[in-house]
Amino acid sequence: MGVIVKKVELGWLDRTYVWPVMKGMAITFGHFIRNLFTTTAKRYTIQYPDMKKEIPAGYRGLHELKRFEDGAIKCVACYMCQEACPARCISIEAEEFSDLNITQGFEEKRPAKFSIDMLRCIYCGMCEEACPKDAIWLRNDYEVAAYDRLSMKYGKWDLMNTYAEADGKDRITEDTTPTVPRRTIVM
């Protein structure tokens, strides 16, 4: 299949070079003047550390492990996210616990350890989709960086507190439920 290339016939004015050059200069000068009188905030460039892009809803940034209002983790350690993860960056260890006084109630499962290797994570959001309890969210923080590999490995408490400041919540560093699960049969 041939493509017909339209040949542009140049007029004598265009062939002098001078006129087209002047037209081009007018265009560039227009840009120059426009930018000269635009404040930095209104330019196309977002000057990163000073200005930040507005993150759209549904952006897949750093993860958060959601919690109930009393601070208990929502995650039930079902391993769905770990299975769904194409980068194999999630690793979970489950434990049992039970307490009558918490929202989840009764005898439950929860992660004893929950870690995401942020260097491996591709931020695809599959874990978020796989989660039956809505316990893991990918939210708007994209500034995930560290000086060494180890600190890019986010543990359970890191993940629960990733958005604590942004949401105005307390940082939690231990389960609000007893650390040693008690086996009591409740009916």
Binding site: V21, M25, T45
Partner: protein, 353 residues
């Protein structure tokens, strides 16, 4: 002034000379380095970018990116000064100076202001007084010298990309020098002399008496050739990152590279001063019969900086020419055009205009 001169054990004439030299050359070097900033910020504006604006003195005083000059200078000073193993070391060292010095001293004969009389002595505001016998032939000859710096830099670094760049620069110089010279010769002819002071006086203070109005063709040819002369886009064949790496300065680093870059900008300043002198009445102030000295200097500076800006402006407007297009333009377009210009004005003069 005489007292200062005697304090320094100089005759007033020599003292005045020293003052002029210091002022002119430091001004050009300052302007050249500032123009690197103008180029970067200006190109950024033209391309809807921001440009260097983050360099700051003590991390505080940003002065719209001008601190970048300082930062660049300091960085260049502290870079390791590498000389390639197989390079011709003497020439390699010499080349940046050979590029820099002609670019700077080409300015010597150009009057940057009206002469004034003080205490019965006439002070001319050009480094060499008018009537020195060289006139405008001098900047042209020196301009021709400038390519030696590029060629030597290319040749001595013993690098194939470099030598290609240097060859191209030399070839471009040959193909443009003739057209440019003929355009200037036309001005000499209509002026009746080649002293810059004479050329400026002949143009007068009325803008429609300036050479740009009488010889627009000559101006276009001359100005285009100045782009080739200063090795700037659209004719920057000595470099060309997509074809021959960085061209003639591939092997250069640290202060030697910065000297080569500074040479380019000094050349640009000298070239725009030449354009202002030859075609735009030099220090003449439009519609002012007898301007004061300061006004004439300001007028000259304004014209010069405007053309220096046009150099930047054009660079960021036009794409590069291909090498054969440049040759075509030089030999088949510029040369006949400037010849036609010359013949036309010769005919006009013979008709008694």
């Amino acid at each position: 002034m005489d007292m200062l001169a005697s304090l320094l054990h100089m005759t007033p004439a020599i003292f005045w000379m020293v003052v002029k030299v210091v002022i002119v050359f430091s001004a050009i070097m300052l302007l050249a380095s500032v123009w690197t900033w103008v180029e970067r910020r200006g190109s950024a504006m033209i391309q809807d970018r921001i440009g260097p604006n983050r360099a700051a003195i003590f991390g505080k005083i940003r002065i719209i990116g001008l601190a970048q000059l300082l930062a660049d200078g300091i960085k260049f000073f502290f870079k390791e000064d590498l000389v390639p193993e197989e390079a011709n070391k003497g020439l390699f060292w010499l080349a940046p100076f050979l590029a820099f010095v002609p670019a700077l001293i080409g300015f010597a004969v150009i009057p940057f202001g009206k002469s004034f009389v003080s205490g019965g002595v006439t002070y001319y505001l050009s480094v060499l007084d008018p009537g020195n016998g060289m006139g405008l032939l001098y900047p042209l000859a020196i301009g021709g010298m400038a390519v030696y710096g590029v060629l030597l830099a290319a040749w001595s670094s013993n690098n194939k990309w470099s030598i290609l760049g240097g060859m191209r620069a030399a070839a471009a110089m040959v193909s443009y020098e003739i057209g440019m010279s003929l355009a200037v010769v036309t001005i000499f002819m209509t002026t009746g002399g080649y002293d810059p002071a004479e050329v400026i006086r002949a143009q007068g203070h009325l803008p429609w008496a300036w050479n740009i109005v009488h010889q627009p063709l000559g101006f276009i040819v001359f100005f285009t050739c100045m782009f080739a002369e200063t090795n700037r886009l659209p004719f920057d064949f000595a470099e060309g990152e997509s074809e021959i790496v960085a061209g003639f300065n591939t092997e250069y680093g640290s202060m030697k590279f910065s000297l080569l870059a500074l040479a380019e900008y000094s050349h640009l300043m000298t070239a725009s001063a030449l354009v202002a002198t030859l075609y735009f009445g030099g220090w003449q102030v439009p519609f002012v019969q007898n301007p004061t000295v300061m006004l004439s200097v300001a007028s000259f500076l304004l014209k010069m900086l405007f053309f220096a800006w046009v150099f930047v402006w054009i660079r960021w407007t036009l794409p590069r020419f291909r090498y054969d297009q440049l040759m075509h333009l030089g030999w088949k377009v510029m040369l006949p055009l400037s010849m036609a210009n010359l013949v036309f004005h010769a005919w006009r003069m013979s008709q008694g205009h």
